[in-house]
Amino acid sequence: MRKVFIQSAVSITCQPSFLNENLYELKIGKANDLALLEPNYKDFIPPAMIRRASKMMKMSLASSQACMQQAGVEDLGAIIVGSGLGCLMDTEKFLKSSILAEEGSLIPPLSFIQSGHNSVSGQIALQLKNQRYNMTHVQKGLSFEYALMDAMLRIKEGDQAVMLGGVDEKIDVLDELAKAVDWPEDMRNELAEGCSFFVLKDESDAGIEVADVKIVSTSKIEVELEALLQAHDLRVDDSIGNFVGLNEVQEADLDINHQLYTQWIGRYFSSSAFGFHLAYDKLKNEGKAGDFSVVINLSNAQYTGLTLLRRV
């Protein structure tokens, strides 16, 4: 059975994460300002694209490009993106112009074109001139896990390198919606945006393997985690890092040591991609052969994503 390794990782969040290593050392406690810390896009994206593109598109193109450079990979067998809500900014923009347009008038098409959920994966392919498999998974808080499963399957099917990303953007409507459904203020204040991109390979120097990913019942997280680790002959107590994220649930009531990464970067549907990045960094910089790390993504009351990374 072919194994799956992480070759490179790049994240843009409200923390200084872009092109930084050892992200788990951010240790800055609770984020006060959830405004996205954007890099200088000119270094990665053509100027015409920067003018037209939404925040979601710009952060994805810059991260995926940086990720390719870091990975030193020429060819990708697949580009796979997970996004809970897709291109919200352009969707809202086109909705508005469509609703307010007079009968028979011409509506500018750009925001419609850019509103598609797969415009990020499509644009990355266009930028890299990549004609291979191109997929977008959009299952709310589990979008990244499902994209990861697909990426792992592609490598097991024979791909040598796969681009994998998780991205979501925030618009004001989300705040209002959270208010309308009575989200407590502390949860509402954590709504954020960000992206993380990775190149996965069938082999790598750092030797950080994605050993498993599973969707389990939120009410049985600890039992399920134990079962998942047992299947790999591992014990929870030996983990060198448990990274936990919250989506539609208020808090994590877990009996194991963990770092709540959504405290640092806020809540967005694909935020577990950042947790995945943290687990990778931790193993790469502090781990030794045999060490492992876990990402626990509490998506909602029904489902939780568990991802196991291991240093070989």
Binding site: G116, H137, V138
Partner: protein
């Protein structure tokens, strides 16, 4: 492990269910009709049933907040699983391809907000995202093991079928309901209008004088099972999902390359995976949207793959309208119908041969043995998918 097709369900402008759709296809009768919309009359392939009527059919509460996309998906999925008992100890999945999600209801909130400064309908946004619609259908079916949504514009449903087949082949699932759904919304009608590729007359796929597409709505789903699941369900094999490929044209955000590079690669790779030659394809259900750009590049790609071979091909979009994300699901159902009934569906409204190729679509109902069908689905972002179904 083989992914057997053992159930199918479809809802389009031609009607609800496989039988109604087959009857209309046989009668060469289009489901595209004139609709009144907010922006004047338009030709659309709409299902002639209101949300309320659909809820009654499904036995749902009239007040239930279920987007139209979810309603038609529920009808098609129920038909696809038919008598299959999903309440067993088998790994069961649901993969839905969609682009509009709950947009029909979201529009009502924004309509009231922008037109009357009234934000009170904000709860309509709760069902906006695609995953929520998928969850609603999965809940109705009782599927919890693997529930996922793909969105790759007009190839979404075809990609959902492909992912399901890959997971069965890899031994990750025993059975999976796969396909897609999209309802008509003002958002998409205005979107395609803004691109100026909407025909105000009946669309004419592969006709030299084609102008553009007619939109439609629908849902098409298949039940795929492995041998283990078949042994438990006792379902009959309708066909095999034998080959698939997804590629990217990487040419333009919305348009496709003149040579149809993405389409060419998808068709070639799906043949390779299926272990078939171009000559083995008895019928090709083309994407054939009737836009200038799509039909031109698709036909170029078909010529490159099929060379001098005499190929039966047609687009069924003139019957249903372009059902966007659902198209690959609807056309997968039609492909299986073609295997079961030994027929090629005629390409409606075709008159003049395209000048770029010597090839012409099948325009009369043709009876012949169909051992292998290819179904093409292409979407924005250069997303190109080909599926191959064979006799079981």
């Amino acid at each position: 492990m083989e992914a057997f097709v053992t159930g199918m369900g479809v809802v389009t402008a031609l009607g609800i269910g496989v039988e109604e759709n087959l009857r209309a296809l046989k009668a060469a009768k289009t489901g595209v009709t004139l609709f009144k919309t907010n922006k004047g009359p338009k030709l659309k392939g709409g299902l002639l049933k209101s949300d309320e009527e659909l809820k009654t059919l499904l036995g749902l509460d009239a007040e239930a907040q279920v987007p139209r996309t979810g309603l038609i998906a529920m009808l098609a999925c129920k038909e696809a699983i038919a008598e299959t008992d999903l309440d067993q100890d088998l790994r069961t999945g649901f993969i839905n391809g969609t682009t509009t999600g709950g947009m029909d209801l979201s529009e009502r909130h924004f309509q009231s907000l922008y037109m009357r400064q009234d934000p009170t309908q904000i709860r309509n946004l709760l069902t906006h995202d695609l995953g929520t619609v998928t969850d609603m259908v999965a809940q109705l079916l009782g599927i919890t093991h693997y529930v996922n949504t793909l969105s790759t514009a007009c190839s979404s449903a075809a990609n959902a079928i492909m992912l399901g087949a890959r997971m069965i082949k890899a031994g990750m699932l025993d059975r999976v309901v796969v396909g897609g759904t999209d309802a008509l919304t003002d958002f998409t009608v205005d979107g395609f209008g803004s691109l100026m590729i909407y025909d105000t007359e009946y669309c004419r796929p592969f006709d030299e004088n084609r102008v553009g597409l007619n939109l439609g709505e629908g849902a098409g789903f298949l039940l795929l099972e492995n041998e283990k699941s078949l042994a438990a369900s006792g379902n009959k094999k309708m066909g095999v999902c034998k080959g698939w490929a997804n590629t990217n044209d990487a040419y333009h955000q919305t348009g496709t390359s003149p040579e149809g590079n993405g389409a060419y690669l998808a068709m070639q790779e799906s043949l390779k995976l299926a272990g078939l030659q171009a000559a083995d394809i008895d019928y090709l259900n083309a994407h054939g949207t009737a836009t200038k750009n799509n039909d031109n590049s698709e036909l170029s790609a078909i010529d490159r793959v099929f060379g001098d071979l005499d190929l039966s091909f047609s687009s069924t979009k003139a019957y249903t309208g372009h059902t966007l994300a659902a198209a690959g699901g609807v056309e997968a159902v039609y492909s299986i119908m073609s295997i079961q009934n030994g027929c090629v569906f005629p390409n409606l409204h075709w008159k003049d041969k395209m000048t770029s190729s010597e090839r012409t679509p099948t325009t009369e109902w043709e009876n012949k043995e169909i051992n292998a069908v290819m179904s093409n689905s292409f979407g924005f972002g250069g997303n190109s998918t080909s599926l191959i179904f064979t006799k079981a």
